[in-house]
Subunit: 699 residues, 2 copies
């Protein structure tokens, strides 16, 4: 009843736009909106990167996390810590199924190799150093090359300080460049993770779905010099929960959005990129699934890739539906028409952007196949390509190399080579590479990939070529690959390894494409700031925020349900009884016995009851504007206390990367109260609860 009342009150309030992934320094100008949301924390505090609370919000690279104790305790999503849980699991000690709790510091386990924590310590506007005196440069390619060099110099200069990683990011479509300095902590340990039956309850079936019932949380601890890291700030856990209508804040590192793509760019995504990727994902998954029929070893080798492809596929399908459902292209056309009305003519700048895009899209079919072959399709060939690229890039001065092959990326490249070993299955690999070579053979005359044509002709057909590549190569051996990564192009050629030769043969074409793309990049760096400036006139400068770019952002919203379809209303909080209702006794809907027992014991559930739900709250929805990279982001209440962890968006929100739609774009959070309940009533993690400053409520 109370719930109904709150819906009513909410509906009576003026609607607030909850769109926006704001840079911290933009927050003070949102003061009015925040007040309306009931946010009590001073907006000025939210613009201080190194203060409380933003100083506690850290990046795991691809995920967000936060410090939650003065001793470096870190909370993030279960799925963000999954690699470390898996890394420490053995058949004898299955931490995935059984969960893990270190009762003492000594019991903590090393995180997966390569796990790092980055604490943002400084941001500087480097626009002048990036773009100063650049206008006169002859040609767009030269302009792009200069920007690239200046960026590398700015990074190198910054990284002279030991223990930091630096990056230069473009904001507002290249109108502003910011250099971010982050402390890098490399000693990270696994402290606690509930069973996957809690942390991934619902699995692939519930992925992107609401109502949701996932305890998607886990704890790390950062160390420095062998001792717990002492963060300057850490978040305080809220003693209460959330209610429908509450204002909430999410701070995190969203990865990429497309809110400022032009109409012609959106059309290219809608009519080409997404449909083609859906086809490639579907076909490669089918190939891997067939390869794994009756072969558990192959199934295991392909499992992570299949899971990741399935996630991409669901994502791509949702975006494809969203293009239609939310009329995204129409929205862009209208935006550009409004821009035209300001300038009173079809804007030549928009025309120039479209012309540069048209030139790029001319070979889009070919380019997408090349992207798949060199980065996504067949793990063995991707390694062959990396080896070839390293051999040709290493002789260059560091600053002239492609960024990915600079010295600072060397450890990451090596780690990727080691990690790839687990996902290599020669049978699947050759079937997938065969698929893409066949796709390349169907390309129109204007887009032929000459090195592929030559190789197929030389071998006498696609199948003989594939046999030759896989029969002769040693790229599948981790030991050989490590040697190859140290060899010159000449040494590689001397091996007579057909796959390496094929990879080397592709490089001139890829270099030519890189050169052409530089011209496009240069043109965009020239045109898009003007585009953005004009857009500011149209949509109001103060309402514009930059597209996501993996830097720290804030988003503000409300706890709110939505209408998924006719005659259906999703309320914004799930509860423990919903977990029990979904229980099927088999994955992904199998809960640990301890959870089911605790759920049926009022003495264990009552202390965590939400007074309106009359049950332990589990997950909640908010109108916050988030995307991939935000996983693990702390969700704060009006006072800045931790009330949840963002871990997903609803299905309807996936295409919000292109266009935020107030009616049904929702973020999904695990409620801190559920996290505490699991720790207390199910896993008895009293040591950690106390470190969080929370007294266990059950006994």
């Amino acid at each position: 009843m109370l719930r109904k009342l709150i819906v009513l009150i909410l509906a009576a309030l003026p609607l607030l736009a909850d769109e926006g992934m704001w840079m911290p320094q933009q927050v003070p100008r949102l003061a009015d909106d925040l007040r309306k949301l009931g946010i009590q924390i001073d907006p000025a505090r939210l613009s201080d990167l190194t203060g409380d609370p933003l100083g506690a919000v850290i990046s795991l690279g691809g995920c967000t996390a936060s410090f939650v104790s003065p001793d470096g305790l870190i909370v993030t999503n279960h799925h963000c810590a999954f690699g470390s849980i898996q890394h420490n699991s053995t058949p004898e000690r299955d931490l995935i199924a059984g969960g893990f709790l270190a009762r003492t510091r000594e019991e903590e386990l090393p995180a997966a190799p390569g796990t790092k924590v980055w604490v943002t310590t400084k941001t500087e506007d480097v626009t002048a150093r990036m773009t100063g005196n650049i206008a006169g440069k002859t040609g767009d390619a030269a302009r792009a090359r200069l920007l690239d060099r200046r960026e590398k110099e700015l990074v190198a200069e910054c990284e002279k300080t030991p223990g930091v990683r630096c990056s230069v990011s473009s904001f507002f479509e290249g109108s502003q460049y910011v250099r971010t300095t982050r402390s890098e902590l490399t000693d990270v340990r696994l402290v606690y993770a509930p069973s996957e039956m809690i942390g991934d309850f619902g699995g692939e079936i519930d992925n992107f779905e609401w109502p949701r019932h996932t305890g998607d949380f886990a704890f790390y601890r950062a160390y420095a010099g062998g001792k717990p890291y002492k963060p300057a700030h850490w978040l305080k856990v809220s003693a209460g929960g959330v209610s429908e209508g509450d204002g909430v804040i999410v701070a995190g590192y969203p990865g990429r959005t497309f809110r400022y793509k032009t109409a012609d760019e959106v059309r290219n995504y809608q009519e080409f990129v997404y449909p083609t990727n859906i086809r490639y994902l579907t076909d490669t998954m089918r190939i891997m699934e067939e390869a794994g029929k009756n072969n558990r070893e192959v199934q295991i080798r392909n499992s992570a890739r299949i899971e990741s492809f399935a996630n991409s596929l669901k994502n791509s399908q949702s975006v494809s539906e969203g293009f239609v459902k939310h009329h995204i292209l129409d929205a862009r056309r209208e935006r550009e028409e409004r821009m035209d009305r300001v300038t009173r003519i079809r804007n030549p700048m928009l025309e120039e952007i479209a012309a540069a895009n048209a030139e790029k899209f001319r070979t889009r079919e070919r380019d997408l196949i090349l992207d798949w072959i060199t980065g996504r399709a067949a793990p063995m060939f991707i390694q062959a390509y990396t080896v070839a690229r390293v051999a040709t890039e290493r002789p260059k001065p560091d600053i002239d190399r492609l960024a990915k092959y600079q010295e600072r990326q060397w450890p990451a490249l090596k780690q990727a080579s080691v990690r790839a070993q687990r996902t290599m299955d020669p049978g699947s690999d050759r079937a997938i590479l065969r698929y893409f070579v066949a796709e390349a053979s169907k390309l129109p005359a204007a887009q032929r990939i000459q090195p592929v044509d030559d190789a197929v002709a030389a071998a006498g057909g696609i199948d003989p070529l594939i046999s030759r590549l896989y029969d002769s190569t040693k790229i599948g051996s981790q030991e050989e690959r490590e040697k190859m990564l140290g060899e010159s192009a000449a040494q590689l050629r001397a091996r007579g390894d057909a796959m390496i030769d094929f990879a080397l043969a592709l490089l001139p074409l890829l270099d030519a494409r890189e050169e052409r793309d530089l011209a496009w990049t240069g043109a965009m760096s020239r045109l898009r700031p003007r585009y953005f400036e004009l857009l500011g006139h149209v949509e109001g400068n103060g309402r514009l925020y930059p597209d996501a770019n993996s830097t720290l952002r804030l988003t503000f919203g409300r706890v709110a349900g939505y209408r998924p379809k006719d005659a259906t209303w999703y309320t914004p909080q799930t509860s423990l009884r919903g977990v029990v209702e979904k229980e099927k006794g088999e994955e992904p809907f199998a809960s640990p016995k301890a959870l089911l027992a605790a759920a049926s014991d009022p003495a264990k559930t009552r202390p965590y009851f939400d007074p309106e739900l009359k049950d332990v709250p589990v997950n909640f929805l908010s109108t916050c504007d988030t995307t991939g990279g935000n996983s693990g982001s702390p969700t704060l209440n009006a006072k800045g206390e931790l009330v949840g962890l963002l871990f997903d968006g609803n299905y309807e929100s996936i295409d919000a990367d292109f266009l935020f739609h107030e009616a049904d774009t929702r973020s999904i959070h695990v409620d801190t109260q559920y996290m505490l309940w699991i720790m207390d009533a199910v896993d008895h993690a009293n040591n950690l609860l106390r470190e969080l400053g929370v007294e266990p409520r059950t006994r």
Copy 2:
């Protein structure tokens, strides 16, 4: 917003039990409840079978309908009139896809053969004539035989009046017997049906589901003496719609419920009947689907049976889930414990019921196989069984025959034989009969079917037996079958038709079972009235209503949504925008172009807007207590005006045949406003609208 407000008001009202399929004469005692529901119509009027409105509520046999004009116009569900729509369809004039509208009386089409309308004209309590002087009868079988004879005599006496059909039904577990007299109208014509794309929108996928968007309505007209029948009463169509919380009334002919089954009977359903039927339905559907692979002719012959089996399967699965979800067996055990508390001992009457059941259940595996073989499995063998039964029953005096083979049922038997022709496919038939013979061969020693064992042994195995049966039989010929229906057992035997011989061989066993069942029936007729009387002490006499038995009943409820799962609330009205949202351009989610065009034209939709939905309402939910047989039932508002037609229950309600559960047992109705909108804006049925007393609102 208003909708939300109404939810709030509703939640604040005291809950009313909406359970109960009331006999009209029981209604006056519900006056208080009806007042609370806001029903304005006088309860006394609702107890008058032949007055207004009940005089307008008629039976189609398996469906309910109602008169809606003084000229015999009848409204019912599209799925209730489907046989007639199909009967009049040809490839050249496809009324299923295209719909049908008679613009004049002359254009009306004959309904499918056998279509009849029954108007209840009289009910008489015949308890004394049924049970008088019966207590002293020796043995339960003799008792049952006497009841059967008295029932037949009561029917025969009544049917001396021409043009009527009579039946004697048991109420309150045999505490009361009522004879119903119904006028039978046999000249029924099809007047109007929308396209199946409206009338069955959502098809099998949406069957039993909410949110629903089906325009499940059609119109017949009854004729008498070649002229439109003039009913004494007809329903008036409401000018307005319904709103959440409104009290509504459903009048109709519910078929069968199990609300008074005892705990041991429910256990038998839960542990044996439903699981076994689910297996048989699944397996026979699979057999038919495989038989139809790449054979369109076979697909068509099996299609109606597959559809009907699929419906049964969904039903059975839902009930099986419901046994667990709604703890039905526990509810019965608690009820019987309460009864035991009244009598202070374990009631011997309950013990005796359980003992009689135990004797019956002893051969339940065998009996279910026999039921399938003689009534459900293979259409050709079912016809062979009918022919054999007719030959052995016909020599008996009419009153001594099994009721189904009495003279009064003769036309129905013949019609069934004609109809069966369309569903016969020898390949599917033999595969299905083979399946059940194989099932019979797996029966335990105590339940062997001797005639099956003998036949299998004589033929030298199951497959040779099946070949013999199907290679020699002429039962598949409609002409031969008609002859057979006139032959004696000796004549049939002289044919040397192996399938007929097999059917004849089964009869002695079936007769023996019939004899044993008579003993059970007699025992129940003795015990169950006492069971019911005791239950009245426990649950309050005034709150008890009889199980459904295809007689006219009334149920009262509210327009109300429900919670299907955690964090999800179904609101009780769907709207036209939901139809458009479901549109997929392919069945079952393809709407006629005219509907989609009208849906996007405010001039056509606005006049039918529900002020709260701000859209044309389509279907609505109520808490009314209904079941199969109620399809087509008029739904009346507080003033007794027609606001909808019941056409389905939600998935959660299917097991309500055993136990009504207020929280989620819901009936689904098509809103009269949607019916009018389709007639007006899509099909331009202005002639009919005016006959309903409604002026078209669009132009």
